[in-house]
C-alpha cells in the first residue's frame, strides 16, 4: 500500500459521477458513504485503489467509486481480486460481495482467498437474502426462513460468515452494522491497514425484501445490550451503562454484570486481537446477540505472510539466484546443440 503522507484526500475524491441506484432506505448507501470516508482517512490515492465486485445489489458499488473498479461476474470477485493484487501488489484492493455472491456461488473462491491470505479487503454485505433477483433465501438465512424460493421455510442451516473465515484460517475478521457509521469507518481502515485478507462482515438491511432481518439485535432500543464493540487492549464491556462484561466460564464465555454475583472489573476479559491463537476470537465471533452480545469491531487481526508478497519475493529470489535476463539465456543454459 502506498500511503501519500502529504496528500489529504476528502471523501469526495473517491466518489464517481454516477447516480447511485440502490433503493431508497437501502443499507448500502450508508456503507458506500462510510467507505468513501474510510478511504479518505486511509490516505491512499484513488489511482492506487481498486474496487472489485461480483454480482448482486452490493456489487454495483464500484461504479460509485472514482478508483479503478471492476464489476465482474457472479461469485468470482475473490478470484479476480487475487489475480489483480498478485499482478500488481502496490495497489490497495477492495472486494465487495454479498452473502449470496461471496458465500454461495463464490464460496470456493472466498475460502481460498482467505486461506492464501491475499492482501485484499473483503467487505461482505450480509442481508441474508437475494435482493437483485427479488427475494430468495441465501446461505446465511436461518433454518425455516420463508422466502419466494422457500415458501414452506428452508430446511438447511446457514453459514455463519465468521465461522467460515476461521475455518479457512483467516487472520482478520471484523463486524459492523450498516448504520454504525463510525464503527464501520474505523473497521474499514483497520482492514485496509492489515496485511493479508481482511474480511469485514457488515449486517446490512434490505428494506424491500428482508426489512428488519437484523433488528432484534440492531434496533436502537436493544443495540447497546445485544452488541459489544471490541477494541484491542480494552476491557470487553457493553450495555447502556457499560456495566456488563464478558468473563471466562470454563472454556466458554459468559456475560455478567460488574458488581453483581461477585464479579468485579478485574474479572472482565481484555480483548487481544493480535494473539495468534484464534480460540477466543472464534468464541467472540460466534456470539449471536442472544445470550451473549454480538461482537462488533476488529475481532481478529494477526500478521501472517501474504500470498502476493510471497509470490513476488519468490520471483525475486529465484531470478537473483539463476541470473537469467531473457528466455534465450535460460534456454541456452539447458540441453542444446549447435548446427553449423
Amino acid at each position: 500500500m502506498i500511503i501519500m503522507e502529504n496528500t489529504v484526500f476528502t471523501p469526495a475524491d473517491f466518489k464517481s459521477d454516477q447516480a447511485v441506484r440502490w433503493c431508497p432506505g437501502c443499507g448500502d448507501h450508508a456503507i458506500l458513504n462510510t467507505l468513501h470516508k474510510a478511504m479518505a482517512a486511509l490516505g491512499v490515492a484513488p489511482h492506487m485503489t481498486a474496487v472489485i465486485s461480483g454480482i448482486g445489489c452490493s456489487s454495483r458499488l464500484p461504479y460509485y467509486m472514482n478508483t479503478f473498479g471492476f464489476h465482474t461476474i457472479h461469485g468470482r470477485a475473490a478470484a479476480i481480486a487475487t489475480g489483480y493484487k498478485t499482478a500488481h501488489p502496490e495497489m490497495t484492493v477492495w472486494q465487495i460481495s454479498g452473502d449470496g455472491d461471496g458465500l454461495a456461488i463464490g464460496g470456493n473462491h472466498f475460502i481460498h482467498a482467505v486461506r492464501r491470505n491475499v492482501d485484499i479487503n473483503i467487505i461482505l454485505f450480509n442481508n441474508k437474502i437475494y435482493g437483485l433477483t427479488k427475494g430468495q433465501y441465501s446461505p446465511t438465512s436461518a433454518r425455516g426462513f420463508v422466502s419466494k424460493s422457500s415458501p414452506y421455510g428452508t430446511v438447511e442451516d446457514p453459514f455463519i460468515p465468521a465461522e467460515l473465515v476461521f475455518g479457512a484460517r483467516g487472520n482478520f475478521f471484523g463486524r459492523s452494522i450498516d448504520v454504525e457509521l463510525e464503527i464501520s469507518r474505523d473497521l474499514f481502515v483497520a482492514a485496509a491497514r492489515h496485511k493479508g485478507t481482511s474480511v469485514v462482515e457488515v449486517l446490512q438491511n434490505c428494506v424491500i425484501f428482508n426489512n428488519g432481518i437484523h433488528s432484534a439485535i440492531t434496533d436502537r432500543e436493544y443495540r447497546a445490550d445485544r452488541t459489544i464493540l471490541l477494541r484491542h487492549g480494552e476491557k470487553m464491556l457493553f450495555g447502556k451503562n457499560m456495566d456488563k462484561g464478558l468473563v471466562r466460564d470454563g472454556f466458554l464465555l459468559k456475560a455478567v454484570t460488574v458488581g453483581e454475583d461477585g464479579y468485579t472489573l478485574d474479572d472482565v476479559l481484555v480483548h487481544d486481537a493480535h494473539t495468534p491463537s484464534n480460540f477466543l476470537h472464534q468464541q467472540l465471533a460466534m456470539m449471536d446477540g442472544q445470550t451473549l452480545p454480538l461482537a462488533l469491531g476488529v475481532i481478529r487481526d494477526v500478521e501472517a505472510p501474504t500470498y502476493d508478497e510471497s509470490v513476488a519475493a519468490q520471483v525475486d529470489e529465484v531470478r537473483a539466484r539463476k541470473g537469467f535476463t531473457t528466455l534465450r539465456d535460460m534456454i541456452l543454459a539447458g540441453e542444446t546443440w549447435e548446427v553449423k
Binding site: A45, G83, T86, T326, E335
Partner: protein
C-alpha cells in the same frame, strides 16, 4: 556380426512400450534427443494411459512412446520399424503398430506364465497367438540388467528400474547412436542421485554391448541426417513451446506474464513449465479451480499484465463465463486449450480437435473471440506468441487450440534470436488524451481496440464490468441502439484482425484440381500425405489453417480456385461446417476421425484418393 544386414533409411520409427512404470517415456526421450543431436529431424508421440499406475503387467497399464527420426520427418510415423516390448502386455497392445519387415525386441524374462496370464493370452505361445511374423529378438533384459548391477549395492526395486535403459542401450546399438550423449542426459536426469546415474550408465553400456555381441540375424539401420538451418537447437515438446512463446511475448510487450491455471491433462505441463519460469519473472499461480484460473488472469489483465490461463476442453467449458467477461470488458486474455478426447471426461490422454465449436461459440450472447491453432509442436511457440500479440494489440481474448498430440509431441527446434519476433505494441492511453481528461474506457483506436491503462496510472481510474456500456461515455447503458452498436463493434474488431495476420499459403501442387484442407495439430500427417499423393500421381494442393477466427483474408480466393475441396480433421466435421457456413457456394468433402488417435498418413492418402475418384 556376420548375420547383420545394414539398411540405410531416410527415416525410421521406433516405438518403446512397457508398463506405465517402466520408464518408456524417459528411454524414448533420450533416444529422441540423441538423434536430434546427431542432426536427425525428430517427431515424437507419447501414448500413455489415463491411469497413473494400472496393475503391473496388465493391458490397461501399457505406456508407449513412438519417435520418428531422419529426414523429411513431419510426423511420428504411422507404424514403427522397431518395436520394443518390455512385457507380454506391451507386445499384445503394440504389435499392430509394427511395419511389415520390422523388428521386435522383447524382454523375454517378462513372458513367464504369470505374465501371459496377466496380459490375457489364451495360450503359452504369445508370438504365434498374435500371428507375428516379424523378426523377434528375444533378449533377457531383466536377467542382463540384474547381472550388470550385481555388485552395485542397489536394492532389487532400483535395479528393476534400470531395465528401460538396457533397452535404450540396445536400441542405440541398433541405430548406431554413440552412447556419450545418452550418458550425458542420464547424468543430468540423475544429478542428485549419483548412484542411480552410475547404475544406469552401466546398464546403458551393457545393453549396447549385448547388441554388439549377439549372434542373431538382425537388421541394423543407418539413418540419413537432415541439413538444418545453422543455429542453436534444443528438443522441445508442444506444451513447453507454448509456455516459452508466452514468455517471448512478455519480453516483446514489456508487460509481466501472469498465468492462472488448474491442473488438467494434457495441459498441465504448461503450468509446470511456467511455474519453473519464476526465474524469468513469471507469476504462475495454481488456483482453486478452472474458473478462478481464468478469473485471476482477468484480474491480472485489468491490472496491466499479459494474462494467460491454460486448460483442456472440460476446463474451457468452466471458463466460458469468464471469457465472456473479458469479451465485454475488452481485456487482453490468452486462453490455451490443449484439446483431448471428449465429451465430458472423455479420453483425457488422447488427442482430438473437438473443441473448435466450443472455442468459437461456447459463450452466452454475441461474444466473438479470436481463435488460433498451432500446427506442430514447435509451432506452439510461434502461435502462443501470436495469441499474445493479437490479444494485446486488439484487446480481446484469444483462444489457442493446441491438442494432446502436438502438446506432448516433440521435435528439434532452433532457438530464435532475440530479433526474430516483432515488438508487441500494447494500446497505452495517449498521454495527451489522459492529461486533457478526454479518455473514456471505450474510446477506440483505428483497429477498434480499447486502450489499456496499467493499474496505478494517475488519471486513468475507470470502471469496467460485465454490464453493457455506453460506447462514448463508458457508463452503464441499457439503450437498445447502443447495445446493438457495441455488439457490432466487438464483432468488427475481431473481423479486422484479418488485416493483421499472414495470408493462407498453398503447399503441394497448387495447380491441382483438389485442395486438401486441415487446421491445427494435424499438419504433419496432412503435409506428408499431400507429398505422398503428389508423388504417387494424385496431385493435390494443401492449405493448412493456423488462424481460425478470423480466417486469413485470402481464404475465399484460394477456395474459389479448386474444383474439389476436402477438409480433414479429428472430429465429425466442425471446421468443414464453419467453412461451409462462411462459403456456402462450395461443397466441401470431408475426412474425419474420432478415435482419440492422430491421423495416419496411410489412411489420409487412401481416403483422399477415394474422394478424388468419386
Amino acid at each position: 556380426m556376420e548375420n547383420t544386414q545394414v539398411k540405410t533409411l531416410d527415416r525410421v520409427v521406433v516405438r518403446f512400450s512397457g508398463d506405465s512404470g517402466d520408464g518408456m517415456q524417459l528411454a524414448g526421450n533420450i533416444f529422441t534427443n540423441v538423434s536430434a543431436g546427431l542432426g536427425n529431424q525428430v517427431s515424437t508421440f507419447p501414448d500413455y494411459p489415463a491411469e497413473i499406475r494400472a496393475p503391473q503387467g496388465s493391458l490397461g497399464g501399457v505406456s508407449g512412446f513412438q519417435v520418428s527420426v531422419g529426414t523429411g520427418v513431419h510426423t511420428p510415423g504411422d507404424a514403427c520399424d522397431v518395436l520394443v516390448a518390455m512385457n507380454a502386455a506391451a507386445l499384445k497392445q503394440n504389435h499392430r503398430f509394427l511395419k511389415p519387415g520390422g523388428v521386435i525386441i522383447v524382454d523375454i524374462d517378462s513372458f513367464r506364465e504369470s505374465d501371459l496370464k496377466k496380459a490375457q493370452y489364451a495360450t503359452d505361445r504369445p508370438f504365434e497367438e498374435l500371428g507375428i511374423k516379424a523378426q523377434i529378438v528375444e533378449v533377457p533384459v531383466t536377467t542382463m540388467t540384474k547381472a550388470a548391477l550385481a555388485d552395485s549395492g542397489l536394492d532389487n526395486k532400483s535395479v528393476m528400474k534400470c531395465r528401460n535403459i538396457f533397452a535404450l542401450g540396445l536400441v542405440c546399438w541398433l541405430f548406431d547412436r554413440p552412447l556419450e550423449a545418452a550418458r550425458h542426459m542420464l547424468r543430468n536426469k540423475f544429478a542428485k542421485k549419483p548412484a542411480v546415474f552410475e547404475a544406469n550408465a552401466k546398464v546403458l553400456e551393457a545393453g549396447y554391448n549385448y547388441g554388439n555381441n549377439i549372434h542373431a540375424s538382425v537388421t541394423t539401420y543407418k539413418i540419413e541426417t537432415a541439413d538444418p538451418k545453422p543455429g542453436i537447437y534444443t528438443d522441445i515438446n508442444g506444451n513447453t513451446a507454448t509456455a516459452w512463446g508466452l514468455i517471448m511475448a512478455s519480453e516483446k510487450c514489456g508487460r509481466p506474464l501472469f498465468l492462472g491455471s488448474y491442473p488438467i491433462t494434457p495441459a498441465t505441463d504448461i503450468l509446470h513449465e511456467l511455474a519453473k519460469r519464476k526465474d524469468l519473472g513469471v507469476k504462475a499461480c495454481q488456483m482453486e479451480d478452472e474458473i478462478s484460473g481464468v478469473c485471476s488472469a482477468i484480474g491480472a489483465a485489468f491490472a496491466g499484465n499479459l494474462a494467460v490461463t491454460s486448460t483442456s476442453g472440460p476446463g474451457l467449458a468452466l471458463k466460458s463465463e469468464g471469457i465472456g467477461l473479458a469479451v465485454m470488458a475488452e481485456l487482453p486474455l490468452v486462453v490455451i486449450d490443449v484439446q483431448r478426447g471428449g465429451p465430458s471426461t472423455g479420453l483425457p490422454t488422447k488427442t482430438e480437435q473437438t473443441d473448435l465449436m466450443q472455442a468459437l461459440y461456447g459463450r452466452n450472447g454475441e461474444s466473438p473471440v479470436a481463435v488460433v491453432a498451432p500446427a506442430t509442436p514447435t509451432d506452439c511457440f510461434t502461435m502462443a506468441f501470436e495469441a499474445c500479440r493479437i490479444a494485446i494489440e486488439h484487446m480481446t481474448p484469444v483462444i489457442l487450440l493446441s491438442d494432446a498430440f502436438i502438446g506432448n509431441g516433440a521435435s528439434a527446434w532452433r532457438v530464435p534470436d532475440a530479433d526474430e519476433y516483432p515488438a508487441i505494441k500494447s494500446c497505452e492511453v495517449p498521454a495527451d488524451m489522459l492529461a486533457a481528461g478526454d479518455w473514456r474506457p471505450y474510446v477506440r483506436t483505428a483497429s477498434l481496440s480499447r486502450y489499456w491503462p496499467v493499474a496505478g496510472t494517475p488519471g486513468a481510474t475507470h470502471r469496467l464490468g460485465g454490464l453493457e456500456k455506453n460506447a462514448d461515455t463508458g457508463a452503464i447503458s441499457n439503450d437498445p441502439a447502443n447495445h446493438e452498436k457495441m455488439v457490432l463493434l466487438r464483432r468488427e474488431k475481431i473481423a479486422r484482425i484479418a488485416d493483421d495476420i499472414p495470408s493462407l499459403e498453398v503447399l503441394g501442387d497448387a495447380d491441382a484440381d483438389t485442395l486438401l484442407i486441415g487446421w491445427g495439430g494435424t499438419y504433419g500427417h496432412l503435409r506428408t500425405a499431400a507429398n505422398e499423393l503428389c508423388a504417387a500421381g494424385h496431385p493435390v494442393a494443401f492449405a493448412h489453417f493456423r488462424y481460425i477466427n478470423p480466417l486469413p483474408a485470402n481464404t475465399a480466393d484460394i477456395m474459389a480456385r479448386y474444383k474439389r475441396i476436402i477438409v480433414a480433421e479429428l472430429n465429425t466435421g466442425m471446421f468443414a461446417d464453419y467453412l461451409q457456413a462462411k462459403f456456402p457456394g462450395k461443397n466441401l468433402l470431408r475426412i474425419n476421425k474420432i478415435q482419440g488417435q492422430p491421423f495416419s498418413v496411410g489412411e489420409l492418402v487412401e481416403k483422399t484418393v477415394k474422394l478424388m475418384e468419386e
